[in-house]
Protein backbone atom coordinates (compact mmCIF):
# COMPACT_ATOMS: atom_id res chain seq x y z
CA UNK A 1 0.00 0.00 0.00
CA UNK A 2 1.18 3.44 -0.92
CA UNK A 3 2.32 5.62 1.91
CA UNK A 4 0.36 8.65 3.01
CA UNK A 5 2.85 10.97 1.43
CA UNK A 6 2.65 9.24 -1.92
CA UNK A 7 -1.12 9.40 -1.88
CA UNK A 8 -1.03 13.08 -1.10
CA UNK A 9 1.29 13.71 -4.03
CA UNK A 10 -0.89 11.74 -6.39
CA UNK A 11 -4.00 13.62 -5.37
CA UNK A 12 -2.24 16.92 -5.98
CA UNK A 13 -1.02 15.80 -9.39
CA UNK A 14 -4.42 14.54 -10.51
CA UNK A 15 -5.95 17.78 -9.35
CA UNK A 16 -3.57 19.87 -11.40
CA UNK A 17 -4.20 17.68 -14.44
CA UNK A 18 -7.87 18.25 -13.91
CA UNK A 19 -7.28 21.97 -13.91
CA UNK A 20 -5.52 21.74 -17.25
CA UNK A 21 -8.19 19.64 -18.89
CA UNK A 22 -10.85 21.95 -17.56
CA UNK A 23 -9.09 24.96 -19.02
CA UNK A 24 -8.64 23.17 -22.33
CA UNK A 25 -12.30 22.33 -22.39
CA UNK A 26 -13.21 25.93 -21.84
CA UNK A 27 -10.88 27.13 -24.58
CA UNK A 28 -12.24 24.51 -26.95
CA UNK A 29 -15.79 25.58 -26.15
CA UNK A 30 -15.01 29.18 -26.98
CA UNK A 31 -13.22 28.21 -30.18
CA UNK A 32 -15.97 25.81 -31.09
CA UNK A 33 -18.52 28.56 -31.13
CA UNK A 34 -16.45 30.59 -33.53
CA UNK A 35 -15.59 27.61 -35.72
CA UNK A 36 -19.19 26.50 -35.83
CA UNK A 37 -20.27 29.98 -36.79
CA UNK A 38 -17.83 30.20 -39.64
CA UNK A 39 -18.74 26.70 -40.81
CA UNK A 40 -22.35 27.75 -40.97
CA UNK A 41 -21.52 31.03 -42.65
CA UNK A 42 -19.41 29.25 -45.21
CA UNK A 43 -22.17 26.92 -46.26
CA UNK A 44 -24.10 29.29 -48.57
CA UNK A 45 -21.06 29.81 -50.74
CA UNK A 46 -20.32 26.16 -51.35
CA UNK A 47 -24.00 25.37 -51.79
CA UNK A 48 -24.49 28.14 -54.33
CA UNK A 49 -21.35 27.09 -56.10
CA UNK A 50 -22.62 23.54 -56.28
CA UNK A 51 -25.97 24.70 -57.63
CA UNK A 52 -24.40 26.76 -60.35
CA UNK A 53 -22.22 23.85 -61.39
CA UNK A 54 -25.15 21.46 -61.39
CA UNK A 55 -27.11 23.84 -63.58
CA UNK A 56 -24.16 24.26 -65.86
CA UNK A 57 -23.33 20.61 -66.22
CA UNK A 58 -26.91 19.63 -66.88
CA UNK A 59 -27.03 22.24 -69.61
CA UNK A 60 -23.76 21.29 -71.21
CA UNK A 61 -24.33 20.18 -74.75
CA UNK A 62 -21.50 17.90 -75.60
CA UNK A 63 -20.34 15.68 -72.81
CA UNK A 64 -17.40 14.31 -74.74
CA UNK A 65 -15.49 17.53 -74.69
CA UNK A 66 -16.46 18.56 -71.18
CA UNK A 67 -13.58 19.78 -69.06
CA UNK A 68 -11.60 16.96 -67.56
CA UNK A 69 -12.13 18.15 -64.03
CA UNK A 70 -15.81 17.40 -64.53
CA UNK A 71 -15.74 14.20 -66.52
CA UNK A 72 -12.50 12.73 -65.24
CA UNK A 73 -9.52 11.57 -67.20
CA UNK A 74 -11.38 8.56 -68.49
CA UNK A 75 -9.37 6.21 -66.30
CA UNK A 76 -9.76 4.94 -62.79
CA UNK A 77 -6.31 3.69 -62.00
CA UNK A 78 -4.50 6.13 -59.75
CA UNK A 79 -6.34 7.45 -56.75
CA UNK A 80 -5.29 10.53 -54.85
CA UNK A 81 -6.54 10.79 -51.29
CA UNK A 82 -6.37 14.08 -49.43
CA UNK A 83 -6.57 13.23 -45.76
CA UNK A 84 -7.41 16.26 -43.66
CA UNK A 85 -6.66 16.11 -39.96
CA UNK A 86 -5.78 18.51 -37.20
CA UNK A 87 -2.39 19.88 -36.25
CA UNK A 88 -2.92 19.37 -32.55
CA UNK A 89 -3.70 16.32 -30.51
CA UNK A 90 -5.80 15.77 -27.41
CA UNK A 91 -9.04 15.84 -29.27
CA UNK A 92 -10.47 12.40 -28.63
CA UNK A 93 -11.17 10.17 -31.58
CA UNK A 94 -11.17 13.02 -34.05
CA UNK A 95 -8.04 12.12 -35.97
CA UNK A 96 -8.32 8.38 -35.49
CA UNK A 97 -11.79 8.38 -36.99
CA UNK A 98 -10.62 10.05 -40.17
CA UNK A 99 -7.59 7.78 -40.37
CA UNK A 100 -9.73 4.70 -39.82
CA UNK A 101 -12.07 5.74 -42.60
CA UNK A 102 -9.15 6.53 -44.88
CA UNK A 103 -7.36 3.27 -44.11
CA UNK A 104 -10.38 1.15 -44.92
CA UNK A 105 -10.66 3.02 -48.21
CA UNK A 106 -6.97 2.44 -48.89
CA UNK A 107 -7.40 -1.26 -48.20
CA UNK A 108 -10.28 -1.42 -50.64
CA UNK A 109 -8.19 0.31 -53.28
CA UNK A 110 -5.26 -2.01 -52.92
CA UNK A 111 -7.59 -5.00 -53.13
CA UNK A 112 -8.85 -3.70 -56.43
CA UNK A 113 -5.30 -3.26 -57.61
CA UNK A 114 -5.49 0.50 -57.84
CA UNK A 115 -2.55 2.74 -57.29
CA UNK A 116 -2.67 5.01 -54.27
CA UNK A 117 -1.24 8.44 -53.61
CA UNK A 118 -1.77 10.39 -50.44
CA UNK A 119 -1.62 14.05 -49.52
CA UNK A 120 -1.94 14.75 -45.83
CA UNK A 121 -3.19 18.04 -44.51
CA UNK A 122 -2.47 18.56 -40.84
CA UNK A 123 0.42 17.00 -38.97
CA UNK A 124 -1.51 14.45 -36.91
CA UNK A 125 -2.69 12.56 -39.95
CA UNK A 126 0.79 12.57 -41.33
CA UNK A 127 2.15 11.09 -38.12
CA UNK A 128 -0.38 8.30 -38.11
CA UNK A 129 -0.13 7.40 -41.78
CA UNK A 130 3.64 7.72 -42.05
CA UNK A 131 4.27 4.29 -40.60
CA UNK A 132 1.99 2.19 -42.77
CA UNK A 133 1.79 4.30 -45.91
CA UNK A 134 4.97 6.35 -45.78
CA UNK A 135 5.96 5.55 -49.34
CA UNK A 136 2.54 6.58 -50.65
CA UNK A 137 2.52 10.06 -49.16
CA UNK A 138 3.52 12.40 -51.94
CA UNK A 139 3.03 15.65 -50.14
CA UNK A 140 2.36 16.97 -46.69
CA UNK A 141 0.74 20.30 -45.97
CA UNK A 142 0.32 21.87 -42.59
CA UNK A 143 -1.23 25.15 -41.58
CA UNK A 144 0.12 25.43 -38.09
CA UNK A 145 0.65 29.16 -38.43
CA UNK A 146 -2.87 30.05 -39.45
CA UNK A 147 -5.19 30.38 -36.51
CA UNK A 148 -8.44 29.76 -38.30
CA UNK A 149 -9.27 27.95 -41.46
CA UNK A 150 -9.11 30.50 -44.23
CA UNK A 151 -9.83 30.44 -47.91
CA UNK A 152 -6.31 31.34 -48.85
CA UNK A 153 -4.99 28.08 -47.39
CA UNK A 154 -7.72 26.10 -49.08
CA UNK A 155 -6.79 27.65 -52.39
CA UNK A 156 -3.21 26.54 -51.88
CA UNK A 157 -4.29 22.94 -51.41
CA UNK A 158 -6.65 23.25 -54.35
CA UNK A 159 -3.87 24.50 -56.60
CA UNK A 160 -1.64 21.59 -55.69
CA UNK A 161 -4.41 19.12 -56.43
CA UNK A 162 -5.25 20.70 -59.76
CA UNK A 163 -1.63 20.92 -60.79
CA UNK A 164 -1.16 17.25 -60.12
CA UNK A 165 -4.32 16.42 -62.01
CA UNK A 166 -3.21 18.38 -65.02
CA UNK A 167 0.15 16.65 -64.81
CA UNK A 168 -1.85 13.42 -65.07
CA UNK A 169 -0.49 12.18 -61.79
CA UNK A 170 -3.85 10.76 -60.73
CA UNK A 171 -7.34 10.02 -62.06
CA UNK A 172 -9.63 10.22 -59.07
CA UNK A 173 -9.37 12.50 -56.07
CA UNK A 174 -11.12 11.95 -52.76
CA UNK A 175 -10.96 14.13 -49.68
CA UNK A 176 -11.35 12.83 -46.15
CA UNK A 177 -12.62 15.03 -43.37
CA UNK A 178 -14.95 15.05 -40.41
CA UNK A 179 -18.35 16.53 -40.93
CA UNK A 180 -19.59 18.47 -37.96
CA UNK A 181 -22.99 17.31 -36.83
CA UNK A 182 -22.97 18.37 -33.22
CA UNK A 183 -20.57 18.54 -30.33
CA UNK A 184 -20.54 14.82 -29.67
CA UNK A 185 -21.11 13.55 -33.17
CA UNK A 186 -18.73 14.04 -36.04
CA UNK A 187 -19.07 11.92 -39.11
CA UNK A 188 -15.96 11.02 -41.06
CA UNK A 189 -16.61 11.72 -44.71
CA UNK A 190 -15.06 10.62 -47.94
CA UNK A 191 -15.96 13.00 -50.72
CA UNK A 192 -14.92 12.57 -54.29
CA UNK A 193 -14.04 15.89 -55.88
CA UNK A 194 -12.44 14.80 -59.16
CA UNK A 195 -14.24 13.83 -61.29
CA UNK A 196 -17.15 15.73 -59.89
CA UNK A 197 -20.21 13.83 -58.91
CA UNK A 198 -22.99 15.56 -60.77
CA UNK A 199 -25.86 13.21 -60.36
CA UNK A 200 -28.45 15.82 -59.61
CA UNK A 201 -31.59 14.84 -57.83
CA UNK A 202 -34.82 15.58 -59.62
CA UNK A 203 -35.72 18.64 -57.63
CA UNK A 204 -32.37 20.26 -58.22
CA UNK A 205 -32.91 20.35 -61.92
CA UNK A 206 -34.35 23.66 -62.87
CA UNK A 207 -36.47 23.86 -65.95
CA UNK A 208 -35.57 27.29 -67.10
CA UNK A 209 -32.41 27.41 -69.05
CA UNK A 210 -29.73 29.96 -68.43
CA UNK A 211 -28.06 32.32 -70.72
CA UNK A 212 -24.32 31.98 -70.54
CA UNK A 213 -21.78 34.63 -71.11
CA UNK A 214 -19.22 33.52 -72.31
CA UNK A 215 -20.25 29.98 -73.30
CA UNK A 216 -20.75 27.05 -70.94
CA UNK A 217 -17.41 25.42 -71.57
CA UNK A 218 -15.48 28.50 -70.72
CA UNK A 219 -17.43 29.17 -67.57
CA UNK A 220 -17.11 25.57 -66.50
CA UNK A 221 -13.39 25.43 -67.05
CA UNK A 222 -13.09 28.56 -64.98
CA UNK A 223 -15.48 27.46 -62.29
CA UNK A 224 -14.31 23.93 -61.67
CA UNK A 225 -10.91 24.77 -60.22
CA UNK A 226 -12.62 27.25 -57.97
CA UNK A 227 -15.09 24.64 -56.90
CA UNK A 228 -12.29 22.36 -55.81
CA UNK A 229 -10.85 25.04 -53.57
CA UNK A 230 -14.33 25.73 -52.27
CA UNK A 231 -14.95 22.10 -51.44
CA UNK A 232 -11.62 21.87 -49.69
CA UNK A 233 -12.39 25.04 -47.80
CA UNK A 234 -15.72 23.62 -46.74
CA UNK A 235 -13.96 20.50 -45.53
CA UNK A 236 -11.49 22.64 -43.59
CA UNK A 237 -14.27 24.57 -41.90
CA UNK A 238 -16.18 21.43 -41.01
CA UNK A 239 -12.97 19.90 -39.79
CA UNK A 240 -12.05 22.76 -37.51
CA UNK A 241 -15.52 22.84 -35.99
CA UNK A 242 -15.36 19.07 -35.50
CA UNK A 243 -11.92 19.28 -33.98
CA UNK A 244 -12.99 21.76 -31.36
CA UNK A 245 -16.18 19.85 -30.66
CA UNK A 246 -14.32 16.61 -30.30
CA UNK A 247 -11.70 18.21 -28.09
CA UNK A 248 -14.36 19.75 -25.94
CA UNK A 249 -16.11 16.47 -25.24
CA UNK A 250 -12.80 14.66 -24.77
CA UNK A 251 -11.64 17.24 -22.25
CA UNK A 252 -15.01 17.15 -20.54
CA UNK A 253 -14.62 13.41 -20.08
CA UNK A 254 -11.07 13.83 -18.87
CA UNK A 255 -12.14 16.39 -16.31
CA UNK A 256 -14.89 14.13 -15.06
CA UNK A 257 -12.56 11.13 -14.84
CA UNK A 258 -10.01 13.17 -12.96
CA UNK A 259 -12.72 14.19 -10.50
CA UNK A 260 -13.66 10.57 -9.93
CA UNK A 261 -10.04 9.66 -9.42
CA UNK A 262 -9.54 12.43 -6.88
CA UNK A 263 -12.57 11.17 -4.94
CA UNK A 264 -11.27 7.62 -4.92
CA UNK A 265 -7.80 8.65 -3.90
CA UNK A 266 -9.14 10.88 -1.14
CA UNK A 267 -11.11 7.99 0.33
CA UNK A 268 -8.06 5.79 0.18
CA UNK A 269 -5.97 8.51 1.78
CA UNK A 270 -8.43 9.00 4.63
CA UNK A 271 -8.75 5.29 5.17
CA UNK A 272 -5.03 4.73 5.46
CA UNK A 273 -4.66 7.75 7.69
CA UNK A 274 -7.36 6.32 9.95
CA UNK A 275 -5.67 2.93 9.86
CA UNK A 276 -2.41 4.45 10.95
CA UNK A 277 -4.07 6.26 13.85
CA UNK A 278 -5.89 3.11 14.94
CA UNK A 279 -2.68 1.15 14.78
CA UNK A 280 -0.91 3.67 16.95
CA UNK A 281 -3.77 3.66 19.46
CA UNK A 282 -3.70 -0.14 19.70
CA UNK A 283 0.02 0.00 20.30
CA UNK A 284 -0.36 2.56 23.08
CA UNK A 285 -3.23 0.69 24.74
CA UNK A 286 -1.57 -2.70 24.61
CA UNK A 287 1.61 -1.08 25.89
CA UNK A 288 -0.28 0.40 28.84
CA UNK A 289 -2.04 -2.91 29.59
CA UNK A 290 1.19 -4.85 29.83
CA UNK A 291 2.48 -2.58 32.57
Amino acid sequence: MASLDDLKKRIASVKSTQKITKAMKMVAAAKLRRAQESAEKGRPYSEKMNNVILNLSSGISDKENAPKLLSGSGKDQIHLCVVMTSDRGLCGGFNSNIIKKAKSYFAKLSQEGKELKIITVGSKGNDQLKRAYGDKIISHISFKESKNANYFDAEKVGKIVIEKFEGEEFDVCTIFYNQFKNVITQIPQAQQIIPLNTEATEEDKSEDSYEFEPDEDEILSNLLPKNISTQIFKAMLENSASEQGSRMSAMDNATRNAGEMVDKLTIEYNRSRQAAITKELIEIISGAESL
Binding site: S38, K41, G42, P44, Y45, S46, K48, M49, N51, V52, N55, L56, N150, Y151, A154, E155, S206, D208, S209, Y210, E211, F212, E213, P214, I219, N222, L223, K226, T230, F233
Partner: protein, 130 residues
Amino acid sequence: MSEEFKVEIVNPEKSFLIKEDVSEVVVPAFEGEMGILKDHISIISFLKPGIIKILSKSGNENYYVEDGIVEFKNNNLSILTSSIFNLNDLDKSKQQDLLKQAEEEASKPEINDQSKYLVDQKIEVLKSLN
Protein backbone atom coordinates in the same frame (compact mmCIF):
# COMPACT_ATOMS: atom_id res chain seq x y z
CA MET B 1 -45.23 46.94 -59.42
CA SER B 2 -41.94 47.72 -57.86
CA GLU B 3 -38.83 47.61 -59.91
CA GLU B 4 -36.70 46.14 -57.20
CA PHE B 5 -34.99 42.83 -56.81
CA LYS B 6 -32.75 41.06 -54.36
CA VAL B 7 -29.01 40.87 -54.49
CA GLU B 8 -26.85 38.60 -52.41
CA ILE B 9 -23.10 38.67 -52.31
CA VAL B 10 -21.40 35.70 -50.70
CA ASN B 11 -17.75 35.04 -50.16
CA PRO B 12 -16.30 31.81 -48.83
CA GLU B 13 -16.24 33.04 -45.28
CA LYS B 14 -19.71 34.45 -44.97
CA SER B 15 -22.71 36.04 -46.57
CA PHE B 16 -21.17 39.36 -47.41
CA LEU B 17 -24.21 41.42 -48.25
CA ILE B 18 -27.92 40.91 -48.74
CA LYS B 19 -30.03 43.71 -50.13
CA GLU B 20 -33.69 43.47 -51.02
CA ASP B 21 -34.41 46.85 -52.55
CA VAL B 22 -32.00 47.04 -55.44
CA SER B 23 -33.04 48.72 -58.65
CA GLU B 24 -29.96 48.10 -60.74
CA VAL B 25 -26.66 46.33 -60.45
CA VAL B 26 -23.75 46.88 -62.79
CA VAL B 27 -21.23 44.06 -62.77
CA PRO B 28 -17.89 43.81 -64.56
CA ALA B 29 -18.70 40.65 -66.52
CA PHE B 30 -16.02 38.88 -68.43
CA GLU B 31 -17.05 40.27 -71.77
CA GLY B 32 -17.76 43.80 -70.63
CA GLU B 33 -19.81 45.64 -68.07
CA MET B 34 -23.31 44.37 -67.69
CA GLY B 35 -26.22 46.18 -66.13
CA ILE B 36 -28.89 44.02 -64.57
CA LEU B 37 -32.42 45.23 -64.02
CA LYS B 38 -35.46 43.47 -62.70
CA ASP B 39 -36.81 40.56 -64.81
CA HIS B 40 -33.54 40.02 -66.55
CA ILE B 41 -33.31 36.62 -68.24
CA SER B 42 -31.63 33.90 -66.16
CA ILE B 43 -27.95 34.26 -66.70
CA ILE B 44 -24.67 32.89 -65.46
CA SER B 45 -21.50 34.77 -66.11
CA PHE B 46 -18.21 35.32 -64.46
CA LEU B 47 -16.46 38.46 -63.43
CA LYS B 48 -13.23 40.11 -64.24
CA PRO B 49 -11.60 42.57 -61.85
CA GLY B 50 -13.66 45.70 -61.64
CA ILE B 51 -16.29 47.63 -59.77
CA ILE B 52 -19.72 46.34 -58.85
CA LYS B 53 -22.22 49.18 -58.62
CA ILE B 54 -25.35 48.57 -56.65
CA LEU B 55 -28.06 51.16 -57.11
CA SER B 56 -30.89 51.23 -54.66
CA LYS B 57 -33.22 53.60 -52.88
CA SER B 58 -31.30 53.35 -49.67
CA GLY B 59 -28.15 54.57 -51.34
CA ASN B 60 -25.65 53.42 -53.91
CA GLU B 61 -22.77 51.17 -53.05
CA ASN B 62 -19.61 50.38 -54.90
CA TYR B 63 -17.47 47.29 -54.44
CA TYR B 64 -14.18 46.30 -55.90
CA VAL B 65 -13.99 42.62 -56.91
CA GLU B 66 -11.17 40.58 -58.35
CA ASP B 67 -13.06 37.56 -59.54
CA GLY B 68 -16.35 35.79 -59.11
CA ILE B 69 -19.46 34.36 -60.66
CA VAL B 70 -22.83 36.00 -61.05
CA GLU B 71 -26.04 34.09 -61.28
CA PHE B 72 -29.34 35.78 -61.92
CA LYS B 73 -32.51 33.77 -61.59
CA ASN B 74 -36.09 34.58 -60.58
CA ASN B 75 -35.10 38.09 -59.66
CA ASN B 76 -32.40 36.88 -57.36
CA LEU B 77 -28.92 37.99 -58.13
CA SER B 78 -26.19 35.96 -56.47
CA ILE B 79 -22.62 37.05 -56.69
CA LEU B 80 -20.01 34.55 -55.57
CA THR B 81 -16.60 36.00 -55.08
CA SER B 82 -13.49 35.21 -53.13
CA SER B 83 -12.16 38.73 -52.91
CA ILE B 84 -14.39 41.73 -52.50
CA PHE B 85 -13.87 45.12 -50.87
CA ASN B 86 -16.24 47.95 -50.21
CA LEU B 87 -14.78 50.95 -51.95
CA ASN B 88 -15.34 53.06 -48.86
CA ASP B 89 -13.20 50.72 -46.80
CA LEU B 90 -10.53 50.37 -49.40
CA ASP B 91 -7.96 52.92 -48.35
CA LYS B 92 -4.97 54.05 -50.31
CA SER B 93 -2.41 51.77 -48.69
CA LYS B 94 -4.53 48.66 -49.26
CA GLN B 95 -5.02 49.77 -52.82
CA GLN B 96 -1.31 50.14 -53.30
CA ASP B 97 -0.74 46.68 -51.86
CA LEU B 98 -3.16 45.12 -54.29
CA LEU B 99 -1.65 47.07 -57.14
CA LYS B 100 1.83 45.98 -56.25
CA GLN B 101 0.75 42.36 -56.04
CA ALA B 102 -0.92 42.60 -59.42
CA GLU B 103 2.10 44.21 -61.00
CA GLU B 104 4.35 41.51 -59.64
CA GLU B 105 2.01 38.92 -61.07
CA ALA B 106 2.02 40.64 -64.45
CA SER B 107 5.77 40.73 -64.66
CA LYS B 108 6.11 36.98 -64.22
CA PRO B 109 7.45 35.43 -67.42
CA GLU B 110 5.42 32.21 -67.31
CA ILE B 111 2.03 33.91 -67.17
CA ASN B 112 -0.50 32.77 -69.79
CA ASP B 113 -2.60 35.01 -71.97
CA GLN B 114 -5.81 34.74 -70.04
CA SER B 115 -4.37 35.48 -66.64
CA LYS B 116 -2.27 38.22 -68.18
CA TYR B 117 -5.45 39.79 -69.45
CA LEU B 118 -7.06 39.52 -66.03
CA VAL B 119 -4.08 40.98 -64.24
CA ASP B 120 -3.89 43.85 -66.68
CA GLN B 121 -7.53 44.55 -66.02
CA LYS B 122 -6.86 44.51 -62.32
CA ILE B 123 -4.04 47.00 -62.65
CA GLU B 124 -6.12 49.26 -64.82
CA VAL B 125 -9.03 49.27 -62.40
CA LEU B 126 -6.83 49.83 -59.39
CA LYS B 127 -5.08 52.71 -61.08
CA SER B 128 -8.34 54.31 -62.06
CA LEU B 129 -9.44 54.32 -58.43
CA ASN B 130 -6.80 56.80 -57.44
